[in-house]
Amino acid sequence: MKRTFLARRNALFTSASFSAGTVAVAAAVFILAIRLLFPNFFWTMLTPAFWLSSGIDNASHGFFSGFKNTAALSLRNEALESENAALLNENRALADKAGALESLSGGIPAGVISRPPTSPYDTLIVAAGRKSDVAVGMETFGPGGVPVGVVTDVLPDFSRVTLFSSPTLSFDAWIGSKHVPVTITGAGGGAFRATLPRGAEVSVGDVVTVAVGGAAPLGTVVRVVSDPSSPAATLSIQGALSPFSLTWVSLRDTGDAFVNALSWKNADSL
């Protein structure tokens, strides 16, 4: 019998999209299920990909920087070589003392396996977890003891650090030599925002300090936007460390006071 109608075509489930699109969704949901059910296995599985990504990132950075002015680079290279020889000697002496200092600070060193901008939520994934005595609420410090975030999830071998620059986070800090109190809000990508009365004595270049493990420098005021029609001035603050280049961090418990005072938009506390 001759058919007098055409089969209705569905734009979502055409034969082609069913084969590739739905398979992709099913695979993504399967991976999501692995993360939810076996998170430590999930991160163990992905770690080689992240290390490879980190290696490529470093190599490409070196490659592209080679295209800069070669004459200037050559001069700089000579100067750096002579400096390098002196620093090598100094480094040997310092390396001997590093172990002792680390044990004094009590920090847990951890390699960063995922960082912004690859990681889109202002979080770090670090290769140290419960087995290394990492706990939720530990503060995270970058090179030079600069505070960068707080541990929010811990697995046996990995931890997730939410950066202080995450837009979901607010906390108290001080600005400048006069210690003007201010509430800092994360602005993403290692930047922060704050609002102060227009008359507050704050200017570009002032250092922002937080009470993490004593008084630690968080960043610097890079812009003060003051509208004459508004009683408040908005500050743009650049973090002392760029989260884009963090490769190692130190995890430390400096007490509950600062972590308990953190204000989360998504959760009451850790």
């Binding site: 979502l12 699109g21 969704v25 999501l32 901008p117 999830d153 979901t168 998504n266």
Partner: protein, 83 residues
Amino acid sequence: MTTGILLGLSLLAVFFFPWPFAAVLAIAASLSEPLIAFAVGVFADAVYYSIHAARVPYFTVGGALVSIVIVFVRSRLKSSPVR
């Protein structure tokens, strides 16, 4: 074939490149396979989402929106008398 390559690249880009690059690749692949944007969004959130870092899983929601928009546009084009 091209769609498959774009799908593979956008999944790899989740690990190797800044997220806007992965998003552009996923949108490009979705032009021929609408569900790919949603799949890449779910995958990116499976890797990176944390409740402390964001209120909603933006990439899943964004991917779903892109897929819906592309499905809608494709259905309009198919029913259009102008081809």
